[in-house]
Amino acid sequence: MVERDDLTAEEARALAALASGPPPPAKLEDETVERLAAEGLLRRPRRRLRAALIAAAAAIAFFAAGLFVGERRSAGDERDTPSRQYVLLLYDAPGERSLTDAEVQQRIAEYRAWAEDVRRRGARIHGEKLERDGRWLGAVAGDGGHPLGGFFVLSAPDDAAAEAVARGCPHLKHGGTVEIRPIAKT
């Protein structure tokens, strides 16, 4: 039995042993720098900008800025549990262009809420809506009448888990199409 308010010496030692704690993932520093630079809060040397542009995949993670989540794990779990990354490509329904600005904002809020819910349930996901117009370089690929309206990058243990998450995406409810593409391991 111990005193209500006091730690025993052994308890204090046990808690003190947690002083170091888990370290932040190494990628977080670069992601934070990228985010600050993107928001105009940080000046970056030119070579960094070029490197960031070349590292397209890393840049995606950064630009998304905010809907990043990992599987909910306790400290002692296998923190290196392998998971794959997937891109959910959101192709718009043909009638999508008629949305008003307010409707677009409502849609964005809906998608964001979905992603946050996914994240709360333990997945890692971030995404962005894309502007309608882009520039093509090289041979032009047709969009089959379903323009790419946005994307999410999702970490999931396997294809089935990724699909289960994707099935809940509100894009489907609005008549859009979702393509699940695993990111290649390079």
């Binding site: 030692r13 046990a14 808690l15 947690l18 977080l28 934070t32 800025a65 989540v69 400290a75 002692g76």
Partner: protein, 184 residues
Amino acid sequence: MSGDDEDRLARFLERRDEEAFRHLYRAHSPFLYRFLFRWTGGNEALAEEGVQETWVRAVRALPGFERRSSLRTWLAGIAIRWYREESRRAVRGEPLPAGESAAGVTPIRLENERVDLERAIAALPEGYREALILHDLEGYTHAESARLLGVDPGTSKSQLSRARQALRGLLAGGAHGRTGRSDG
């Protein structure tokens, strides 16, 4: 605020460049991540997001930082406010259980593996966890904890007392009966 922090801060405010920020980041992010990892109940992703959000907010607010606390404490305050906003958005607050009975309390044992202790802390009700992290893990006084939590020191003290009892219960597999061993 420490001289090192003052130097790093002055350099960053003067140059606003990446290198100066990275010095600040490396000095404080191990604390911020550890703090948020536990604050969020062991959610790595939320902790990562919280670290990034804290820095974004901090860099925006740095010119107005009055140095009435250490930079670390100021960052902790930003992190706590961020997490509260997140929690409100998720509407996931759970009422704290009634005070634990002191009867049959098992001491927090050193032989419990660190993993079990981390899990037990993660399983504590939010208010208890916050009080325990600030006081017992990060070494804040009751007055400092209370300021960070926006409560009076008495509340911080009673929350800590209950947190310790709840932690003992969790480690003993007692009242709460879950240490997260089976499903993490």
